[in-house]
């Protein structure tokens, strides 16, 4: 037997095999028990030819194994290729839930202010008139206190018209500094229409510490407005009036819909009013036992529905309370 001729013949047979079955037949022919090589190995007498033949056997075994892997791989690929289907069909759908848009806005506000070092306070929705009105410097004749504006449970228990009563409670309970935002439902005696709902959500912020300035209020609200409406937005402040702040200023953000060109949303002014703010009135500080000569503070209030309606173009506040899944699933 000529090992060289045998190897050449076997290698070309391996290469020629086109399926694992054919390859197996060739393996039996060249490496099987009755193959020429195996017989020669059994009959070998000298060490040198034994080594030659064993090396040949190993080479052939490697060649068979390599070819087999290649053939099996090709066979699998062909099988898988036949399984190809329309990948544009939808996937299996797990049940999908959605956060209410107001919850999403609420969380954004909370995260922005936690990032600035503010605590988040929930506060009760049923309040007494002292914490909601008197302590906030609203005199007994103030128009908000009228039962035409506020829902009373009895003479001195009301559904809160704003969340700031919780600011009073926090300040009463501890010494400054206080950095807090209160978020939640508030109630007004309003009829239900496109822009009004008797229940809505507010964020009100309060910072009281030594040396707080009107500039700190401006910087904080600029940060908030940019987080919500984009880093390019500007804010503007104009004079306003609230019993619990002095000076009082109204916050407006540059119109992110028309970029100042003028549109219906900004009433062709380029600015959108967002809410009231100002430096905490010294009477409010005194009412909670703080010394207005030692500490100063700022406060602001913005409606969450207003933010949501502006940013997402929601035209009607009632959509938030109708909870139609087709609406909820958009956000």
């Amino acid at each position: 037997m000529d090992p060289n001729a045998l190897e050449t013949e076997a290698q070309s047979a391996i290469a020629a095999a086109s399926s694992p079955d054919e390859l197996e037949q060739e393996r039996v022919r060249y490496l099987g028990r009755k193959s020429e090589l195996k017989q020669a190995l059994r009959e070998v007498r000298d060490r040198e030819s034994g080594m030659t033949l064993n090396a040949l056997r190993e080479r052939l075994e490697t060649a068979f194994a390599g070819r087999e892997e290649a053939l099996r791989g090709a066979e699998l690929e062909q099988l898988l290729g036949e399984e190809s289907f329309d990948v544009t069909l939808p996937g299996a759908e797990p049940p999908r839930g959605h956060y209410h848009l107001i919850t999403q806005i609420r969380r954004e506000v909370e995260d922005i202010f936690v990032g600035l070092g503010y605590e988040v306070v929930d506060g009760d929705e049923v309040e007494d008139t002292y914490h909601l009105f008197d302590a906030l410097n609203m005199a007994p004749g103030h128009v908000t206190r009228s039962p035409l504006h506020t829902l009373y449970l009895n003479g001195d228990t009301v559904l809160r018209t704003e969340t700031s009563a919780s600011q009073i409670r926090v300040m009463e309970s501890r010494e400054p500094p206080v950095y807090m935002v209160s978020l939640g439902r508030v109630y007004r005696r309003d009829t239900i229409e496109a822009k009004n709902f008797p229940i809505f959500h507010q964020v009100e912020g309060l910072a009281v510490a030594e040396g707080i300035t009107l500039g700190d209020l401006k910087g904080t609200l600029l940060h908030l407005c940019r987080a919500f409406f984009g880093e390019d937005q500007q804010v503007r402040f104009s004079t306003d009036f609230f019993p619990f702040t002095e000076p009082s200023v109204q916050l407006a953000v540059s119109c992110f819909l028309c970029n100042g060109a003028g549109c219906r949303t900004c009433k062709y002014t380029g600015w959108i009013e967002l809410g009231g703010s100002g430096l905490v009135d010294p009477n409010v500080l005194r009412n909670v036992g703080y010394d207005p000569e030692q500490v100063s503070g700022f406060a602001f209030g913005i409606g969450l529905e207003r933010i949501a309606m502006l940013r997402h173009g929601v035209p009607d506040i009632r959509l938030f309370w109708e909870n139609d899944l087709r609406f909820l699933a958009q956000f």
């Binding site: 988040v120 039962p147 228990t157 008797p198």
Partner: protein, 663 residues
Amino acid sequence: MLPGGQKLEAAKLRGEVSEGMILSERELELGQDHSGILVLDDGPEPGTPLADVLPLADDVLDLEITPNRPDLLSVYGIAREVAVIYDADLAPPDVSGGQSPGPGRNGQVDVQVEDLEGCPRYIGRLFENVAIGPSPAWLKARLVAAGMRPISNIVDVTNYVMLGLGNPLHAFDTTKLDESRIVVRRARKGETIRTLDGETRKLEPTDLVIADASKPVALAGIMGSEDSEVDESTTTVLLEAANFEPLTILRSSERLGLRTEGSGRWEKGVDPYLAETAADLATRLILELTGASFAGETEVAAELPERPVVSFRPERANALIGLELADKEQRRILTGLGFDVTKDWNVIVPTWRARDVTREADVVEEVARFHLNEVPFTLPLRRTGARLTREQRLRRLVEEALVGAGCSEIYTTTLLPDDADPNALRLPTPLTSDQAVLRTTLLEGLVTTARSNLDVGNEHIRLFELARVFLPPADPRPEEHWRAGGIVQGGFGPAKGVVETLHEALKIEPSFERTQLPFLHPGKGAAFEAGWVGELHPERLEGEWGVFEVDLPALFARVPERLVYQDVITFPALRQDLAFSVPEGVSAAELVTAAREAAGPELHEMRPFDVYRGDQVGEGRKSIAFAVSFQSPERTLTDEDAARLREQIVSALAERFGAELRA
């Protein structure tokens, strides 16, 4: 185009093409005169734009005035602000020739003020030989631009002075006043007045009225009466320049639902010193425009309030504003606004700001508001670390678990027509009867919302709400509890799955037991530590719906503070299925509890996966199959261990429940 929006175009009129139209005052909204066409004085060339002849084309500023600034409800008040902004001088109102001739004439009008609190000042001026007629075009145009209708020279003058200076005035026809007298007093019970708008109004003793010798002739500060109105035949006029107390006017105006330009100013507080200037300006104009003669005057007044004096520190203003404004600039602003500032910064407040500016902080605002745009954007220097509270973080986790379980979040109203709890808090005067009660459960909102979604054809309805309920008694305030509630299409199983997912997310193991609640299917309700879950009673909503409500304080009380590692990997679990036949009334949960007691901690898990009823278990019995796994954190359990544990379970269940192990 006409003011009403009507377009004038060429049109055929009686067969002739008309290219234009000659207009009356009323068609131009310049006045009410529709008796003929408007004839312009001085005969301008045809084709001259009307705006060049009449002062029509002035720009009109629409300003929003805050309630603390009634002084700005006047052109002069605005001018004062503008003068400060532009550092310009402000001329005093031109009242030349209108001043009172002096005390010699005083007392010639019979004015009596019975209520000096409600009316701290009353100036009555008498004019004779008044020729009532239309106002000149300039006056009409200014009134129209300010949104008022020109009526007659006398009435227009009173309105013009109100708009110009901020002090509402009134004019009476003296001949229509009984005994030509004016008495300012509270209304008497049963009195009525027919106001200029034609309404007859019943008066209360809280209403302040201007009366003559016998009857009210005006609702003070709000509206005059038809009886005493100035009309075309009037020749003697009593001009009223008074001051009224704000709350009295506000109460009457609110009670009667009658708001006028006058009441809107009085209710905010008008400077009592202004009455005289207003009287003088009106006098000047009346003399000029009506040819009248000034026949006499009476003034009745309480002691007018002193100007407040505020001790002010310009450096304190800077510290609060966050700017370095020079003392000189602060002084300039205050002086320009009418404050007197002494050398050592005592600030004497002008009479028209005496209600609003009484403290240093108020003066700081006066300075700040002229420099708002320059205030820098800064953040507070001293800040503290902060994070959400445990309860807030857990509430977010609840939302995440429920959204993850495929539920969409809804917001429903806190105020409902009624509540299952008869002690639920009720609003004594709700806005509408369906917003009358503070809810004690989220159930109604869930059912209502599921129904509305069903009605519009939505599918796969799974909803939840996180909100507060209000638990009586109100002592003095109710207890407010956060709750999570849900409603899930498909009945009990899907809802219970959501509840279990929620507990798993919080690492709490709930235990369920059968319960009956009036709104649930009587056989499919379960209570657990923090709430209930069940199938909604089929009468409540069409279809099969699972509902649940979880009290969050109760749930959060069971959340572990810290999770401790348990080795469930090193030593593998031994798994087997065990099926027990038990009487129908025995629950799976009872079997699991008993098995845990019997086998101890090495019973790692015992989860029911199948319930079978039929011939093989016999009447009145059922078979429950459990997937059971045994595991120890210390060693690999052997088959002998498993056999021992299984035997402990089997004998305990047999003894307690008559359970028989099947195959």
